[in-house]
């Protein structure tokens, strides 16, 4: 409660400060604490330190009404600690005792640290940049079932980025058209083909029919190419329906389910993972930019990525690095590091997507390495000779990059790539 801070905060604040502030400038967080790194734009009525106390309070025990003896005890045991203050940048970190959180309950974390603080009048804006979880907390979540290693094993692809595409137009094809489009992409060399984020079960494209038809074409493509292929059907819906759809995919021999993690939400995402189906989970992040894009307010993509790893997705969209927008190199690198670094949970396969085409492959692999999924929509289906050739060109781009041959040169020997390079240049 008290989402909108009340009239009394200020006067009560003075009382609190006099008696107890959560600021401990030189504090070193204990291994058992969850530490959140904020940037705060202070309100005019309060000092920077007062704002921070307000944020720390609202995201933890919220003791502000009256500091009775009982509450002092609680504050001592469960109170947060604010440290690393830098008024210039607005930065400050808050360490929260682990007992403030219910293990294995991701929505509860969100409600505490990503909750009421965004609506407080005590700050003009507040951004959660990063968060560090203690091992004990991390271990209370399932994490990815497959991770990079498991995905590679399923797809039998070693040592190179996976290549994926999306059926386009995103919504509008019927089941047959959809399956055919996917088939062409596989034939050309795509490892993975995915549904788009707003395609679920439509009047003109039924989920079950689409899945069974597309998986049949997948089998055909596997036989014809001798490669393992994967289809990622979008199961996003109400929890039980989502589970039913995922199980149907499993029954049909599918290996993947794709879910829009922001739209579906963390409760259902955890449920889907907890079912422990034999499906790799691909996480689409549609909608994240509503709260990640404003760099002064909201929640960073980095935090979201860490939570997605806890919840247990195997693949996650992280940005394109060389796309035309946010998700620049340093941010994406940081996200990739966070979801792949060694820890109690398996690593998440980073998906680079958004405005990618063959010429972008060398710098992308140079920045992020080989353990990425390169997903190109327009950069494949926009190939002048169609989607099959587009997929061939993309695989050639990966191949050439791995061989260390400049793509302009590699394109001379590989005509599909050559045509793509001509169209899109650098």
């Amino acid at each position: 409660m008290r989402e909108l801070k009340g009239i009394n905060t200020y006067s009560l604040y003075s009382l609190l400060t006099a008696m107890d502030s959560f600021i401990r400038e030189k504090y070193k967080p204990a291994k058992s604490e969850i530490t959140a790194h904020f940037r705060v734009k202070k309100s005019e009525k309060l000092s920077f330190r007062e704002c921070l106390d307000s944020v720390a309070r609202e995201s933890s025990i919220g003791t502000w009404t009256e500091l009775a003896t009982l509450e002092k005890k609680i504050a001592k045991k469960l109170g947060p600690k604010i440290f690393g203050l830098d008024e210039g940048t607005g930065k400050a970190s808050i360490a929260y005792p682990l007992d403030l959180f219910e293990k294995g309950n991701l929505p509860q974390f969100w409600s505490g640290i990503c909750g009421n603080i965004y609506g407080m009048s005590d700050v003009q804006a507040i951004r959660l940049d990063d968060v560090d979880f203690p091992e004990e907390y991390v271990k209370s979540f399932k994490g990815p079932k497959y991770g990079i290693e498991g995905v590679r094993k399923t797809l039998k692809v070693k040592g190179r980025p996976l290549v994926g595409t999306i059926v386009k137009p995103k919504v509008g094809l019927d089941e047959k058209g959809h399956a055919k489009c996917a088939y062409n992409a596989w034939l050309g060399g795509c490892d993975i083909v995915k549904d788009d984020e707003n395609l679920t079960s439509m009047k003109f494209n039924n989920f079950r029919k689409r899945v069974s038809l597309t998986l049949k074409m997948l089998e055909k493509a596997e036989k014809e190419t001798g490669e393992k292929k994967a289809y990622m059907p979008n199961v996003t819906s109400e929890t039980f329906e989502m589970l039913k759809r995922a199980k149907y995919v499993e029954e049909c021999g599918g290996t993947y389910a794709m879910v829009d993690i922001i739209s579906a939400g963390f409760s259902a995402l955890q449920t889907l993972r907890n079912e422990d189906l034999d499906l790799i989970l691909h996480a689409h992040r549609a909608g994240h930019a509503a709260f990640t894009r404003n760099k002064e307010h909201g929640i960073s993509m980095l935090v979201l990525a860490k939570l997605a790893r806890l919840a247990g997705v195997d693949q996650l969209h992280v940005g394109a690095v060389f796309g035309k927008m946010e998700g620049g190199e340093s941010e994406v690198k940081q996200i990739v590091r966070a979801i792949t670094e060694k820890g109690p949970l398996k690593s998440v396969f980073p998906v680079a997507s958004g405005g990618l085409y063959p010429a972008k492959v060398p710098p992308l692999m140079n920045a992020l390495g080989n353990d990425i999924i390169i997903q190109a929509g327009g950069g494949i289906s926009g190939h002048p000779q169609g989607i099959i050739k587009g997929a061939i060109a993309m695989r050639q781009a990966v191949e050439g990059t791995l061989k260390g041959i400049p793509l302009e040169e590699y394109g001379l020997m590989h005509k599909e790539l050559g045509i793509a390079m001509q169209k899109w240049g650098n």
Copy 2:
């Protein structure tokens, strides 16, 4: 896919415009369409009209790669229409054919209209202000099981706002302390007592133990006051665990479940509603301000409120009107109108909360009427004589307001209110 718009958007755009733009200046949306009202801050590289086409495209069929014959047909059948353009304010409306949406699937709506558009480089910022749903779509959702009428029947309260409070400190009390605090609030006159948003099942406060103890105290309070009372335990967690907790509340004779709808997410919220338990659903919106606060970017609280009604919450936090922050009078009034206006679904009980205390009751009731829940945390427990007297004072404030007596005057005859008026003035 294509969250971050690619390098080719612009050149392809020209092709699209030449052949087909979604703009129909004078379009009147059909009854069967979903109409979204946006405000767009255009990017530098595109014109206002080009930006709008890009938004409409990305939130619907996404046809941009190649306008083959097939895609033209799809665009004709499923293409959106942009109308009501006003470059000065950035306003424009987009009508989407209903077939672009899966009925009864709220996450799918979110992925489409509240999804990738927020991350597009083709706009600097984009805000979804409002959305209109056709009856056919609305009817595919359950909506509130109880609504205002059902809640009033359960609580046996007619003709006056309900009065509620929150157990404080928000996290830290053990089960016994929690139950006692709730008991005191009921004794003083609160109809409803709720858990706070980050209190679920903690090491020091177990959900089941808390619920059974608090409901026992509720029975005692009902006997002693002769009034019907309600407790709203926070069930927010992974979907199955959430259902288990809600069922436990039902078994214990509870009448409410509270859920953090943003943290839990729409899939699980729909699941909880679909279970059709005999529990009134109270929706807490912790975290909404991460994407509703910036008035230029994100999603309005109004849209969120409409979606919550579709999903089927019975009560929703809407803002305090006289709080110190966003959620000013006109915005909150608009939200209240949207969730209570006659339609195929029951109305949602608006909860006003945030910095409320007795003196704020007359203007609040004047602005929003009697069909509201007045929830005060500090405005009750911060009463100089404690929580029981605080609750008495709040009920007196409601009483005095209904009688049309100025509270300064009513406070002379009712000492608890008098003390509250003295402390908090106006």
